[in-house]
Subunit: 585 residues, 2 copies
């Protein structure tokens, strides 16, 4: 009878969700708070009936809502867009998010909460809701205004930061404390994982989906997409990341495929159904008594979210060189928190590191800010004008001087612009290639450890087997190592050209340039090799075998050089083509 009760619970949830969505649409109220309210009413904390029998299973199902919400977010996310958003959004969003985490932590400490509660509160307050803001901007007809573009840019950066925060919090919660080292390690691992996933995924997935789409069956395409999404989530959980990260990344990868529009249409109903379940389930968890007990913190945090987000985002955009009106309007647009705050609060609950009151507070604050959101957005324009008039002449003067200084920093003529672009491009390429090399060695080490544990009979002579795996990893890395070497060589030649001026080096100019241009890549490769050796320590063969492997590879290198260069450039072209194609058909 388990199944029957569960289906009855689900039916009850879908029924109230249906009622609420129609009713709230009629009243022109945001639907998400409606779902939460409905969940509260049918939930166990409010009389007269407990209409839900099996909370556990419903929450399991609600987790699917998180997966679909983040998968859709990934589909809307776009690497091209991220590139276009530019430095302004990056600076402003990072600044604003850091500020909110700090503010949240301070508020938590002020109320005398435990460290973990304060940390999670900070994280909860950091991320605005892309879904809600994009919807509200659309409804108010503001989507094409300049400040809206900055809002979108900052939301994209915030999504990435949110993923990092989720990974960080899991790490922090499991280690019990926060140390700079562990934060840095977590972030480095996350960055490595994301780069490798995106490069491999964008090479493979759009091609696979184009093939599947050639069957012209909606069902096949959908099931294949779901297979990719959930399969990747499975892999991600094996690496101890959250399913949310997996869903988001796979969404971002699939966003680069030509079938994007079609896939979005197919996934939307799933997202809508499961996000409705998710939000109602959030309401089910809500205990109104807690809200009454914590009314003061709720109000303080709500005001802090609004004030902090407006201040942080506006200041960040001003700092990045935007004018006051645009910066303020963008700030007002971002002044809310949404589903990420529940997700973070749920994470705390499921990791059992936060107190029970944090989740209801997250729900209450996000509901309040969701109600205020549209009103703030509408009143941003008059408010910003008012603020502009009030601003003391002196402050305005400082900003104007800052703007002039900022202008002087950026490249002055076309040549410099081109040069800066070139150097950035080379560095990005070299970095991605080296990340792939590191990933290959880390995977090889993990593979060897896995084999050792599960199939111990395969390992006879550990040294030899380690040498074989290590040599295999090195072989696979060679195309990327060569590419990284060539990029660094090009960079160092550029630098040598610019750095070693004939008026200083005199007659030794050519030699000095040659030395510099040879030295930099070799030093970089040496550092790289040491790093790889450290990362693959568990499969590093004993010295004589290692030397053998290295010598062998050294002999092979000249034979394979050209072939690997060609292979790599083909891969790179394929990647670039996929990235540059416009999605949708």
């Amino acid at each position: 009878m388990h199944a029957e009760l569960f289906l009855q619970d689900l039916a009850m949830i879908m029924m109230v969700a249906g009622l609420v969505t129609v009713l709230f649409h009629r009243l022109k109220l945001p639907v998400v708070p409606g779902y939460i309210l409905a969940g509260l009413i049918i939930g166990p904390h409010t009389p007269p009936f407990a209409l839900i029998h099996d909370l556990q299973t419903i929450h399991t199902l609600a987790e699917l809502g998180v997966v679909f919400l983040l998968f859709s977010l990934g589909l809307e996310f776009n690497l091209k867009k991220l590139g276009r958003v530019g430095a302004a959004a990056l600076v402003a969003a990072t600044l604003e998010t850091s500020l909110m985490i700090w503010v949240g932590y301070q508020i938590g400490r002020y109320f005398g909460w435990q460290t973990m509660d304060a940390v999670f509160l900070g994280a909860m307050m950091a991320i605005s809701s892309t879904t809600v803001i994009v919807k509200t901007l659309g409804e108010l007809g503001l989507k094409n205004q300049k400040f809206a573009h900055y809002i979108f840019g900052m939301l994209i950066v915030e999504d990435i930061l949110a993923i990092a925060i989720l990974a960080l919090l899991s790490g922090v919660a499991s280690s019990g404390g926060i140390s700079f080292g562990s934060v840095a390690q977590t972030l480095a691992e996350l960055a490595l994982f994301m780069i490798v996933t995106l490069v491999v995924g964008i090479l493979a997935v759009p091609r696979l989906l184009a093939y599947v789409a050639s069957f012209r069956s909606q069902e096949t395409l959908l099931v294949a997409v779901l297979g990719l999404c959930f399969g990747f989530c499975l892999l991600v959980t094996k690496l101890h990341y959250s399913m949310a990260l997996g869903a988001f990344l796979m969404g971002a990868i699939i966003a680069e495929s030509r079938q994007l529009r079609q896939i979005e249409r197919l996934v939307e109903p799933l997202r809508d159904m499961f996000s409705a379940i998710f939000f109602v389930a959030v309401g089910l968890l809500l205990n109104p008594q807690v809200l009454i007990d914590y009314a003061v913190p709720v109000l303080v945090i709500t005001l802090a979210v609004i004030a902090g987000k407006v201040a942080g985002a506006s200041f960040g955009l001003l700092l990045a060189g935007q004018n006051g009106s645009t910066a303020l309007r963008a700030g007002f647009g971002l002044a809310q928190i949404g589903e990420f705050s529940f997700i973070i609060a749920s994470l705390g609950v499921s990791l059992k590191v936060t107190s029970d009151f944090l989740f209801p507070i997250a729900v209450a604050v996000s509901t309040l800010t969701a109600f205020f959101g549209p009103w703030l957005m509408k009143s941003a324009d008059p408010l910003s004008r008012l603020l502009g008039q009030w601003m003391p002449r002196r402050v305005v003067g400082v900003w104007e001087a800052y703007d002039v200084w900022l202008q002087s920093l950026s490249p002055q003529n076309e040549d410099e612009v081109l040069l800066a672009k070139m150097i950035r491009r080379i560095l990005v390429h070299a970095f991605v290639n080296l990340a792939l090399v590191i990933a290959i060695f880390v995977s090889a080490a993990a593979f060897f450890d896995g084999v050792k544990v599960y199939l111990p009979q395969l390992i006879r002579h550990e040294g030899l087997e380690m040498a074989a795996v290590w040599a295999g990893a090195l072989f696979l890395s060679l195309p990327f190592l060569i590419a990284a070497y060539r990029k660094l060589k090009a960079l160092s030649m550029l630098l040598a050209e610019m750095g070693v001026k004939p008026e200083v080096a005199g007659q030794y100019t050519v030699q000095a340039r040659k030395v510099v241009s040879e030295l930099i890549p070799i030093v970089a490769m040496l550092v790289m090799v040491l790093l790889v050796a450290a990362l693959s320590a568990s499969i590093l063969p004993p010295a004589p075998l290692l030397v053998g492997v290295l010598v062998g590879m050294g002999l092979l290198l000249p034979l394979l050089w050209k072939r690997f260069v060609r292979l790599h450039s083909r891969l790179q072209i394929a990647l670039m083509e996929t990235l540059e194609e416009e999605g949708g058909e």
Copy 2:
């Protein structure tokens, strides 16, 4: 960690489903057996790994697949289509389904199985898979052939019969035996429930959906539709019917709305995802050992399904006056069983009345017939020609004589056709109205019983309260009673006109006609009143109060007559308009 394991299970299922759908599409094989096979491989019965941790929850989720499959089936089902299919499909499908149940029961008995196993086997073999057959006909490009129309018609009738079978089996299983009385009662209740649901639903739901669609939000429309579907499922389970019935009926009701196309597009991804989960979950349950042990019954039943369906359907269509080639081709097209056989077998398992081996047999037979299906469909044409040549001259002669006799039965001229149509129409209307009256009284009785149990303090003077409820029910029924009375009056006038011929009644013709035309409706109403009194026995007030209520209503009747006639005709027009509108926009 419950939620995590479940999500991992689901991820595993979606991953293999994605793999299978692409692979089987590539190999041009039907996907459903692929899903089942994939479930078998990752399932607990096959080494090396048990990849699924929580079978229970997966099966709960798979039940959602049944809900969505039947909801979609309901959306494709169409009352108009049912009307157009006509008598031929009705006769043939009823005959064929009854034959298959009988054949299945005999096979079960032959193998010495228990009665319930044999009964469920019969039911399992009765219903072909609408989804699979429609898909196959489409792929073979045969959808517009004449025999395909008969196949569609028979599939629609089979769907209705399947719903009846599900309700019957639940009843049979709970009472432990089969008696004519209980079968008749179950079917009568089901018919009553379906008529009332369809009338009320088609009046209310399309109007509601048109209102919701006016918001122009896909999300709102989808969640409202899901709310209706699941809300109705909830109601249906309270009446001890299966969710499958509720989903199918709500689908059939929503199929009458103008937003049908849009809703189908939104529901399809949900159906595809959950039906994939459903079929993989079917494979998870499969124990290959059972299949080896029961190889002989599986083969016998497979052959019986093919032979029985071909023979039953063809014979039925011949009997209904179709030519041999069409009848045979339709028969070959229907020669398989599908998801309904799993659903019926699962019902037996969940009611704990059947043996364990029945479910794997259902899966094996439906997989085998699904593989043979397209091949049989393609070879139907040559086979039917061959059979036509082999047929002894004598048999052909008998059929030809039967055809002539059948032709002589149908109305000969336009007047008779019109008259037959009119009488049928009046009878249907009277029947529907009386069904509504019965439903009102039954609901009133249930309402009173409910109030008595849950709110005993409300009942002070039982006789008075019963009289009030009964009077309320009678008042609500009056429009339908009046309508039924007027329809019967019209019918009896028609009959009097036709039955009382002047050559027999002579000078008393007018009086005799008057007597007949007055008598029939009064007798019918009396029977009706007695039936209602019996059905509402639990709320029938004591005699003096009853007389009071009846006298009071009798006095009210002349005052309200015109008003009620107008109200009823407005309802009827609204219903007809909805039914006649073409779905889709």
